[in-house]
Symmetry: C2
Subunit: 167 residues, 2 copies
Protein backbone atom coordinates (compact mmCIF):
# COMPACT_ATOMS: atom_id res chain seq x y z
CA UNK A 1 0.00 0.00 0.00
CA UNK A 2 2.93 2.36 0.63
CA UNK A 3 3.54 4.44 -2.50
CA UNK A 4 7.06 5.59 -3.36
CA UNK A 5 7.88 9.13 -2.16
CA UNK A 6 6.27 11.93 -4.17
CA UNK A 7 4.05 9.59 -6.19
CA UNK A 8 0.76 7.86 -5.54
CA UNK A 9 0.76 5.90 -8.79
CA UNK A 10 3.51 4.06 -10.64
CA UNK A 11 5.35 6.16 -13.28
CA UNK A 12 4.13 3.59 -15.82
CA UNK A 13 0.50 4.51 -15.08
CA UNK A 14 1.40 8.20 -15.45
CA UNK A 15 3.19 7.46 -18.71
CA UNK A 16 0.18 5.60 -20.15
CA UNK A 17 -2.15 8.47 -19.19
CA UNK A 18 0.23 11.07 -20.68
CA UNK A 19 0.58 9.14 -23.95
CA UNK A 20 -3.20 8.65 -24.26
CA UNK A 21 -3.70 12.39 -23.56
CA UNK A 22 -1.09 13.21 -26.21
CA UNK A 23 -2.81 10.99 -28.81
CA UNK A 24 -6.24 12.54 -28.07
CA UNK A 25 -4.87 16.08 -28.36
CA UNK A 26 -2.84 15.39 -31.52
CA UNK A 27 -5.83 13.80 -33.31
CA UNK A 28 -8.02 16.67 -32.04
CA UNK A 29 -5.58 19.23 -33.48
CA UNK A 30 -5.38 17.46 -36.85
CA UNK A 31 -9.19 17.28 -37.09
CA UNK A 32 -9.51 20.95 -36.16
CA UNK A 33 -6.94 22.38 -38.57
CA UNK A 34 -8.08 20.21 -41.48
CA UNK A 35 -11.80 20.84 -40.91
CA UNK A 36 -13.31 22.86 -43.75
CA UNK A 37 -16.57 23.47 -45.51
CA UNK A 38 -18.17 25.73 -48.08
CA UNK A 39 -20.90 27.99 -46.76
CA UNK A 40 -23.59 28.77 -49.33
CA UNK A 41 -26.36 31.32 -49.15
CA UNK A 42 -28.61 32.35 -52.04
CA UNK A 43 -27.69 35.89 -53.19
CA UNK A 44 -24.41 35.72 -51.25
CA UNK A 45 -22.58 32.99 -53.18
CA UNK A 46 -20.12 30.56 -51.63
CA UNK A 47 -17.40 31.02 -49.07
CA UNK A 48 -14.76 28.63 -47.72
CA UNK A 49 -15.00 28.12 -43.95
CA UNK A 50 -12.03 27.11 -41.77
CA UNK A 51 -11.59 26.93 -37.99
CA UNK A 52 -9.81 30.30 -38.13
CA UNK A 53 -13.11 31.98 -39.00
CA UNK A 54 -14.55 31.29 -35.55
CA UNK A 55 -12.90 32.81 -32.46
CA UNK A 56 -13.96 29.96 -30.14
CA UNK A 57 -12.34 27.41 -32.48
CA UNK A 58 -9.12 29.47 -32.61
CA UNK A 59 -9.12 29.54 -28.80
CA UNK A 60 -9.59 25.75 -28.68
CA UNK A 61 -6.70 25.38 -31.14
CA UNK A 62 -4.43 27.43 -28.83
CA UNK A 63 -5.61 25.39 -25.81
CA UNK A 64 -4.84 22.09 -27.60
CA UNK A 65 -1.36 23.30 -28.66
CA UNK A 66 -0.57 24.36 -25.07
CA UNK A 67 -1.87 20.97 -23.87
CA UNK A 68 0.31 19.12 -26.39
CA UNK A 69 3.49 21.03 -25.45
CA UNK A 70 2.88 20.44 -21.71
CA UNK A 71 1.98 16.75 -22.15
CA UNK A 72 4.98 16.19 -24.42
CA UNK A 73 7.31 17.68 -21.76
CA UNK A 74 5.69 15.61 -18.98
CA UNK A 75 5.90 12.44 -21.13
CA UNK A 76 9.62 13.07 -21.68
CA UNK A 77 10.22 13.63 -17.94
CA UNK A 78 8.30 10.41 -17.11
CA UNK A 79 10.35 8.40 -19.65
CA UNK A 80 13.56 9.83 -18.12
CA UNK A 81 12.22 8.91 -14.66
CA UNK A 82 11.46 5.33 -15.68
CA UNK A 83 14.84 4.83 -17.38
CA UNK A 84 16.99 6.59 -14.76
CA UNK A 85 14.89 5.75 -11.70
CA UNK A 86 14.81 9.35 -10.42
CA UNK A 87 12.36 12.15 -11.14
CA UNK A 88 13.67 14.99 -13.32
CA UNK A 89 13.85 18.17 -11.26
CA UNK A 90 13.78 16.27 -7.98
CA UNK A 91 11.46 16.96 -5.08
CA UNK A 92 10.26 20.41 -6.11
CA UNK A 93 8.84 18.89 -9.29
CA UNK A 94 5.70 17.67 -7.50
CA UNK A 95 4.59 21.30 -7.36
CA UNK A 96 5.21 21.69 -11.11
CA UNK A 97 3.06 18.56 -11.65
CA UNK A 98 0.40 19.84 -9.25
CA UNK A 99 -0.01 23.34 -10.69
CA UNK A 100 0.75 22.22 -14.26
CA UNK A 101 -1.92 19.47 -14.36
CA UNK A 102 -4.43 21.79 -12.67
CA UNK A 103 -3.90 24.77 -15.00
CA UNK A 104 -3.62 22.73 -18.21
CA UNK A 105 -6.82 20.83 -17.38
CA UNK A 106 -8.65 24.16 -16.95
CA UNK A 107 -7.25 25.46 -20.26
CA UNK A 108 -8.28 22.30 -22.16
CA UNK A 109 -11.84 22.23 -20.81
CA UNK A 110 -12.41 25.93 -21.54
CA UNK A 111 -11.33 25.34 -25.16
CA UNK A 112 -13.77 22.47 -25.57
CA UNK A 113 -16.59 24.29 -23.73
CA UNK A 114 -16.26 27.45 -25.85
CA UNK A 115 -16.35 25.38 -29.06
CA UNK A 116 -19.32 23.26 -27.97
CA UNK A 117 -21.13 26.46 -26.96
CA UNK A 118 -20.74 27.89 -30.46
CA UNK A 119 -21.53 24.68 -32.41
CA UNK A 120 -24.63 23.96 -30.32
CA UNK A 121 -26.06 27.46 -30.57
CA UNK A 122 -25.18 27.96 -34.24
CA UNK A 123 -26.70 24.60 -35.25
CA UNK A 124 -29.55 26.20 -37.23
CA UNK A 125 -27.22 28.66 -38.97
CA UNK A 126 -24.72 25.86 -39.69
CA UNK A 127 -27.43 23.72 -41.33
CA UNK A 128 -28.72 26.71 -43.29
CA UNK A 129 -25.22 27.43 -44.62
CA UNK A 130 -24.66 23.77 -45.48
CA UNK A 131 -21.56 23.36 -43.30
CA UNK A 132 -22.88 20.61 -41.02
CA UNK A 133 -19.90 18.38 -41.91
CA UNK A 134 -17.47 21.12 -40.88
CA UNK A 135 -19.31 21.62 -37.56
CA UNK A 136 -19.34 17.85 -36.91
CA UNK A 137 -15.58 17.64 -37.46
CA UNK A 138 -15.03 20.54 -35.03
CA UNK A 139 -17.34 18.77 -32.53
CA UNK A 140 -15.24 15.61 -32.86
CA UNK A 141 -12.11 17.70 -32.18
CA UNK A 142 -13.82 19.25 -29.12
CA UNK A 143 -14.83 15.76 -27.88
CA UNK A 144 -11.21 14.57 -28.14
CA UNK A 145 -10.06 17.75 -26.38
CA UNK A 146 -12.56 16.90 -23.59
CA UNK A 147 -11.05 13.38 -23.38
CA UNK A 148 -7.58 14.96 -23.14
CA UNK A 149 -8.95 17.14 -20.34
CA UNK A 150 -10.40 14.08 -18.50
CA UNK A 151 -7.04 12.25 -18.51
CA UNK A 152 -5.25 15.43 -17.40
CA UNK A 153 -7.86 15.87 -14.61
CA UNK A 154 -7.17 12.29 -13.44
CA UNK A 155 -3.42 13.04 -13.46
CA UNK A 156 -4.24 16.23 -11.52
CA UNK A 157 -5.93 14.13 -8.80
CA UNK A 158 -2.77 11.98 -8.58
CA UNK A 159 -0.43 14.99 -8.50
CA UNK A 160 -2.60 16.56 -5.76
CA UNK A 161 -2.41 13.40 -3.69
CA UNK A 162 1.36 13.26 -4.25
CA UNK A 163 1.74 16.66 -2.57
CA UNK A 164 1.58 15.33 1.02
CA UNK A 165 4.85 13.47 0.91
CA UNK A 166 6.54 16.76 0.05
CA UNK A 167 5.17 18.72 3.00
Amino acid sequence: MAPPPSQVVSPFVSLILRVVTLICLLVSLILLITANGTASLPDYGHEKVKFKDVQAFKYMCAAIVIGIVYTLLQTTFTVIQISSGSRFGGETFVYVDFYGDKIISYILITGAAASFGVTQDMKDLVDLLGITGFANTVNAAAALCTLGFLFTAILSVFSSMALPKKA
Copy 2:
Protein backbone atom coordinates in the same frame (compact mmCIF):
# COMPACT_ATOMS: atom_id res chain seq x y z
CA MET B 1 4.33 27.37 10.12
CA ALA B 2 2.59 24.15 11.23
CA PRO B 3 -0.99 24.17 9.98
CA PRO B 4 -3.75 22.52 12.02
CA PRO B 5 -4.59 18.96 10.92
CA SER B 6 -6.53 18.71 7.65
CA GLN B 7 -6.22 22.41 6.86
CA VAL B 8 -3.53 24.57 5.35
CA VAL B 9 -5.38 27.85 5.84
CA SER B 10 -7.45 29.19 8.72
CA PRO B 11 -11.19 28.46 8.50
CA PHE B 12 -11.67 32.26 8.51
CA VAL B 13 -9.76 32.55 5.22
CA SER B 14 -11.88 29.71 3.77
CA LEU B 15 -15.03 31.45 5.00
CA ILE B 16 -14.09 34.75 3.38
CA LEU B 17 -13.32 33.01 0.07
CA ARG B 18 -16.62 31.06 0.21
CA VAL B 19 -18.65 34.20 0.96
CA VAL B 20 -16.96 36.16 -1.84
CA THR B 21 -17.61 33.23 -4.24
CA LEU B 22 -21.23 33.17 -3.14
CA ILE B 23 -21.67 36.91 -3.74
CA CYS B 24 -20.08 36.68 -7.22
CA LEU B 25 -22.30 33.74 -8.20
CA LEU B 26 -25.50 35.27 -6.80
CA VAL B 27 -24.94 38.58 -8.62
CA SER B 28 -24.01 36.61 -11.76
CA LEU B 29 -27.26 34.62 -11.55
CA ILE B 30 -29.37 37.75 -11.01
CA LEU B 31 -27.73 39.48 -14.01
CA LEU B 32 -28.23 36.41 -16.19
CA ILE B 33 -31.90 35.76 -15.41
CA THR B 34 -32.88 39.42 -15.63
CA ALA B 35 -30.94 40.07 -18.87
CA ASN B 36 -33.27 40.78 -21.75
CA GLY B 37 -33.41 42.57 -25.06
CA THR B 38 -35.57 43.00 -28.13
CA ALA B 39 -34.13 41.65 -31.35
CA SER B 40 -35.22 43.56 -34.42
CA LEU B 41 -34.76 42.69 -38.09
CA PRO B 42 -36.42 44.46 -41.01
CA ASP B 43 -39.13 42.20 -42.52
CA TYR B 44 -39.03 39.93 -39.44
CA GLY B 45 -40.39 42.26 -36.77
CA HIS B 46 -39.34 42.24 -33.13
CA GLU B 47 -38.75 39.42 -30.71
CA LYS B 48 -37.97 39.39 -26.98
CA VAL B 49 -34.66 37.71 -26.15
CA LYS B 50 -33.92 36.06 -22.77
CA PHE B 51 -31.03 33.89 -21.60
CA LYS B 52 -33.24 30.82 -22.11
CA ASP B 53 -33.08 31.35 -25.89
CA VAL B 54 -29.38 30.45 -25.99
CA GLN B 55 -28.27 26.95 -24.94
CA ALA B 56 -24.84 28.10 -23.71
CA PHE B 57 -26.48 30.68 -21.41
CA LYS B 58 -28.86 28.03 -20.04
CA TYR B 59 -25.85 25.81 -19.35
CA MET B 60 -24.08 28.68 -17.55
CA CYS B 61 -27.24 29.25 -15.48
CA ALA B 62 -27.23 25.57 -14.41
CA ALA B 63 -23.49 25.79 -13.61
CA ILE B 64 -24.01 28.92 -11.45
CA VAL B 65 -26.94 27.31 -9.56
CA ILE B 66 -24.84 24.18 -8.85
CA GLY B 67 -21.98 26.46 -7.74
CA ILE B 68 -24.29 28.42 -5.41
CA VAL B 69 -25.75 25.28 -3.77
CA TYR B 70 -22.26 23.81 -3.22
CA THR B 71 -20.77 27.08 -1.92
CA LEU B 72 -23.77 27.64 0.37
CA LEU B 73 -23.29 24.16 1.90
CA GLN B 74 -19.54 24.70 2.31
CA THR B 75 -20.13 28.14 3.86
CA THR B 76 -22.53 26.58 6.39
CA PHE B 77 -20.03 23.83 7.25
CA THR B 78 -17.26 26.42 7.70
CA VAL B 79 -19.45 28.56 10.00
CA ILE B 80 -20.26 25.42 12.06
CA GLN B 81 -16.53 24.63 12.17
CA ILE B 82 -15.63 28.10 13.40
CA SER B 83 -18.37 28.14 16.07
CA SER B 84 -17.94 24.54 17.28
CA GLY B 85 -14.20 24.20 16.67
CA SER B 86 -14.52 20.90 14.79
CA ARG B 87 -15.05 20.21 11.10
CA PHE B 88 -18.48 18.89 10.10
CA GLY B 89 -18.10 15.31 8.82
CA GLY B 90 -14.73 14.86 10.49
CA GLU B 91 -11.61 13.59 8.80
CA THR B 92 -13.22 12.14 5.66
CA PHE B 93 -14.51 15.59 4.82
CA VAL B 94 -11.16 16.65 3.34
CA TYR B 95 -11.92 14.37 0.40
CA VAL B 96 -15.35 15.98 -0.03
CA ASP B 97 -13.58 19.38 -0.07
CA PHE B 98 -10.94 18.10 -2.48
CA TYR B 99 -13.24 16.53 -5.09
CA GLY B 100 -16.01 19.09 -4.52
CA ASP B 101 -13.80 22.15 -5.09
CA LYS B 102 -12.17 20.48 -8.10
CA ILE B 103 -15.41 19.43 -9.83
CA ILE B 104 -17.32 22.64 -9.05
CA SER B 105 -14.45 24.78 -10.36
CA TYR B 106 -14.53 22.80 -13.66
CA ILE B 107 -18.32 23.21 -13.90
CA LEU B 108 -18.15 26.98 -13.29
CA ILE B 109 -15.39 27.63 -15.83
CA THR B 110 -17.14 25.56 -18.54
CA GLY B 111 -20.30 27.64 -18.04
CA ALA B 112 -18.39 30.90 -18.43
CA ALA B 113 -16.32 29.60 -21.37
CA ALA B 114 -19.38 28.38 -23.31
CA SER B 115 -21.10 31.76 -22.81
CA PHE B 116 -18.05 33.80 -23.77
CA GLY B 117 -17.63 31.59 -26.85
CA VAL B 118 -21.15 32.41 -28.01
CA THR B 119 -21.12 36.13 -27.20
CA GLN B 120 -17.73 36.66 -28.88
CA ASP B 121 -18.62 34.79 -32.06
CA MET B 122 -22.13 36.19 -32.34
CA LYS B 123 -20.96 39.80 -31.86
CA ASP B 124 -21.82 40.84 -35.42
CA LEU B 125 -25.22 39.15 -35.29
CA VAL B 126 -25.90 40.64 -31.83
CA ASP B 127 -25.11 44.17 -33.08
CA LEU B 128 -27.23 43.60 -36.19
CA LEU B 129 -30.20 42.48 -34.06
CA GLY B 130 -29.74 45.45 -31.70
CA ILE B 131 -29.29 43.31 -28.56
CA THR B 132 -25.80 44.53 -27.63
CA GLY B 133 -27.04 45.50 -24.14
CA PHE B 134 -28.39 42.00 -23.55
CA ALA B 135 -25.08 40.45 -24.67
CA ASN B 136 -23.11 42.84 -22.43
CA THR B 137 -25.21 41.86 -19.40
CA VAL B 138 -24.62 38.17 -20.15
CA ASN B 139 -20.89 38.91 -20.51
CA ALA B 140 -20.91 40.60 -17.10
CA ALA B 141 -22.62 37.49 -15.65
CA ALA B 142 -19.96 35.28 -17.30
CA ALA B 143 -17.18 37.50 -15.91
CA LEU B 144 -18.61 37.13 -12.37
CA CYS B 145 -18.95 33.37 -12.93
CA THR B 146 -15.24 33.37 -13.91
CA LEU B 147 -14.43 35.23 -10.66
CA GLY B 148 -16.45 32.62 -8.73
CA PHE B 149 -14.40 29.96 -10.54
CA LEU B 150 -11.11 31.68 -9.60
CA PHE B 151 -11.96 31.74 -5.87
CA THR B 152 -13.11 28.10 -6.04
CA ALA B 153 -9.86 27.19 -7.83
CA ILE B 154 -7.88 28.87 -5.02
CA LEU B 155 -9.92 26.89 -2.45
CA SER B 156 -9.20 23.79 -4.54
CA VAL B 157 -5.44 24.41 -4.19
CA PHE B 158 -5.91 24.64 -0.39
CA SER B 159 -8.09 21.50 -0.23
CA SER B 160 -5.48 19.64 -2.33
CA MET B 161 -2.71 20.71 0.03
CA ALA B 162 -4.86 19.66 3.02
CA LEU B 163 -4.98 16.07 1.69
CA PRO B 164 -1.52 15.06 2.96
CA LYS B 165 -2.39 15.23 6.64
CA LYS B 166 -5.16 12.72 5.98
CA ALA B 167 -2.95 10.10 4.34
